[in-house]
């Protein structure tokens, strides 16, 4: 108990000292804290302000934000200053006698017109920034982004490269069974990779409900809306890893669909792209391969962790979705199981249609995994070619 009190006291003290430093922090964009290496983490922990980001647009937005902020601060200082002056000087206890005045057209006009002028001055830079942000023409690379419950899908248009990007933080971290990593909730299995100094156009849409694709360092936030394709663009200037999150409530796992963007030199990007194409090539070849039970099981477990665990639970015990332990699907006829995975469940919008989200190897593995994990022990297995046959025959 005393320990908690002590921790609390030291925390409050820290907060207090930070708040005292607030004006300085804001003026310098937090750089005072970042000055020494040891303080970098601390600065991030007590992050107070918008990031300046790594694009010309993000810096412009940051400057606009600070401009409006300071105008507000000065208006506040004047208005609250007069208020506090009155509260101190014009109180009954110091013998203040109330004045009689109660209107003045001239003053009313002044404090209507002066703010209006200030607003016009604010609107000018805001308009010019907005025009820049809306200019999505002449892009070097087009990337289609599709929001799904609850993951992002990226497709490099004209490149034959595309993949899903899932949260890679484990359920154990979320439920506090193991310590949380540095990038807790802001890490994915496959990040979006882009080259620096190229104009990238994002074409953003959604498959089910609304989502919003947001990376603060890029100052890009656009709603992903089924039936619409929104566009946005960026030119990243520095290589690095930039993290963001879904910004529109999209259901249960809304807080668990992060975005990670890796920006790299053009050459590295080309290598990555070639690697991806190679991977796709190998995957196509693997479609006709036969896998051992162990291979299927191990791969299936990974696929399960990335795609199923949110609703069906770490041990298939169920949650938002039904339990998979000894269920009619996982221990029933295998064709039925394939059907549910490939086509979803009629009238159930929560169960995704995995037929167009997972490849045949992943589908075969995850079905095999589920039929044999958690004591289901069905002993049967599927090969990718079985899924292909199923899809052809339906």
């Amino acid at each position: 108990m005393r320990l908690i009190t002590k921790q609390l006291a030291s925390k409050l003290l820290l907060v207090f000292s930070r708040l005292m430093m607030l004006p300085v922090l804001l003026m310098t964009g937090g750089q005072v804290l970042a000055a020494s290496d040891a303080a970098v983490d601390e600065a991030q922990r007590w992050g107070l302000n918008m990031t300046e980001g790594v694009t010309a647009v993000s810096r412009e937005i940051y400057d606009l934000h600070m401009l409006i902020f300071w105008i507000c601060v000065w208006i506040g200082v004047v208005v609250f200053g007069i208020m506090f002056y009155s509260m101190i000087m014009h109180r009954k206890s110091v013998g203040a006698v109330p004045a009689k005045f109660h209107e003045s057209t001239a003053v009313e006009l002044a404090w209507t017109i002066v703010p209006a002028i200030i607003l016009v001055l604010m609107a000018i830079p805001a308009t010019s920034s907005l025009i820049k942000i809306y200019d999505t023409t002449e892009a070097d690379i087009d990337i289609k982004i599709v929001g799904h419950q609850w993951k992002w899908q990226y497709e490099y248009l004209g490149q034959d490269v595309g993949f899903f990007s899932n949260l890679s933080t484990s359920q154990d971290e979320i439920y506090g069974l193991v310590p949380k990593g540095e990038h807790y909730l802001l890490e994915v299995d496959e990040p979006l990779v882009i080259p620096i100094n190229k104009k990238i156009r994002f074409l953003i849409t959604a498959n089910d409900v609304l989502h919003a694709w947001w990376v603060p360092a890029l100052a890009v936030k656009r709603d992903a809306i089924p039936g619409y394709i929104n566009d946005a663009w960026t030119i990243v200037e520095e290589p690095g890893t930039y993290r963001g999150q879904c910004a529109e409530l999209c259901g249960k796992e809304h807080g668990f669909m992060p975005i990670v963007v890796e920006a790299m030199e053009e050459q590295d990007y080309q290598n990555w792209l070639a690697g991806k194409k190679q991977e796709a090539e190998e995957l196509r070849a693997a479609m006709s391969q036969t896998f051992s039970m162990d291979e299927l099981y191990a791969r299936g477990e990974k696929v399960y962790q990335a795609n199923c665990v949110a609703c069906h639970g770490v041990n298939g015990e169920g949650g938002l979705g039904p339990s998979l332990v000894g269920s009619g699907i996982t221990t029933g006829p295998i064709d039925n199981h394939i059907n549910v995975m490939v086509n979803g469940v009629a009238g159930n919008v929560v169960m995704p249609v995995f037929g167009n989200q997972l490849n045949n190897i992943d589908l075969a593995s995850v079905i095999t995994f589920k039929r044999n994990a958690w004591g289901n022990n069905m002993g049967d297995q599927l090969q990718p070619v079985d899924i292909l046959t199923f899809k052809k025959n339906q």
Binding site: K11, V15, R45, W46, G47, L48, M50, E60, I61, L64, I68, G76, V79, F80, M83, S86, M87, H90, R91, K92, V97, P98, A99, K100, F101, H102, E103, S104, V107, W111, T112, A123, A126, T127, S129, L130, I133, I174, Y175, G176, E182, L185, D208, V209, L210, A212, V220, K221, R222, I225, Y228, N230, C246, A247, L249, C250, K252, G255, F256, V349
Partner: protein, 518 residues
Amino acid sequence: MGDHHGPAKGFGRWLFTTNHKDIGTMYLWFSFAMFLLGGVFALVIRAELFQPGLQLVRPEFFNQMTTMHGLAMVFGAVMPAFLGLANWLIPMMVGAPDMALPRMNNWSFWILPFAFALLASTLFMEGGGPNFGWTFYAPLSTTYAPPSVTYFIFAIHIMGASSIMGSINIIATILNMRAPGMTLMKMPLFVWTWLITAYLLIAVMPVLAGCVTMMLMDIHFGTSFFSAAGGGDPILFQHVFWFFGHPEVYIMILPAFGIASAIIPTFARKPLFGYASMVYATASIAFLSFIVWAHHMFTVGMPIAGELFFMYATMLIAVPTGVKVFNWVSTMFRGSMTFETPMLFAIAFVILFSIGGFSGLMLAIAPADFQYHDTYFVVAHFHYVLVPGAIFSIMAAVYYWLPKWCGNMYDERLGKAHFWLSFIGLNVTFFPMHFVGLAGMPRRIPDYALQFADFNQIASMGAFLFGFSQVFFLFIVIKTIRGGAKATDEVWENPEGLEWTIPSPAPYHTFTTPPPIK
């Protein structure tokens, strides 16, 4: 004048009453009950967000809490509280014996508990309660909603009917029941702001009703108003919702302006500065509220022309709002001030509401909004306008008029303690939200990245302080009703208004003959 007959006895008094004071009292108690309920929901949220990771609730329940907190506070706490104040005060302020439509008055109150019983019962239904946020964006609230959404829709319909009836009553009372000589420009500002608010309600509540009816059709009757797959449009939902939603947020603040305009002159001992400009500013804000709705939708991908129009229109709101703040400050300037509890709440209202106004101006800047939108910065903004704006003004009003209502003075020391606890609690809760929002924390998430941990912890501690202070408020109010120093008829030093010319406590029937108006 005098009591020809007193109130009926027993529960029947409350069930069948047509007396504006009884109905006002019921509205206020109902509102307080919803305030505590919505507060409990908020504390569940803040408890879960006390540290990173999922500790107390599952994400699906967390989403139900954010939704129900918003609905309970907006439709259950703030709106009924203002209607309660309107019921109590408007007839007394304009010298009328009662509301113009007393039986409808009874009806518009009594359907409310049913609406909220319906809404709250969804939490116990299979699939849980509404989990799509108080803004219930389609298709999350239609195709993807839990089955209880139908109950939610009916609850909204009933609340809407109640609000519309309440508004018609208020307009009819103000326009027809004023004492002879009480011209429109002699009305207290609380009456003026409520008159304008009532028109806003009549204008937008049917829009909300249309919105939820389209949802009902989409869910049960195979239409596709909001479903892209059927040729409908999810963005249409947002346009319709915010055409209701933006005036709605002013519905929750205009009566607060009226309350501050009553309290500040009393304790500054100086007439309100710029009465006429206050009326015009209120009307301008009401007009502007109809043409700014899409600033809630800057990131949906509107054409740039729309984006610019809504940005400019939104920035304009700062002008009439500024006029109001300047008028209040000028009222205080060279006054002779004392700082009783209602005045403390009113001053905190002006300062903190202005801070919320500043962040509102920042949010109006569309390019910057791309970074602020749907983050905790927005949460900080609207809690700064709603808690010190609506809630503080309601508390100020309760302390200010309670002696008139029950005939006893509240305990000034306790009142001040309540004020300071609330004031500190509020700022500790909501100020850090500006920081985590700017640093990149999205709203409506049950768990967050590690860098947001410290400020969230502080906010949660503030929230519990604020929450428990309101139990203290309940204690103070009950204590005052049950006893205490007797209030004089005037209660305060030379307050302005007809309500101070009648005895304390106010008799069951007042102004059965119209009072003379100077």
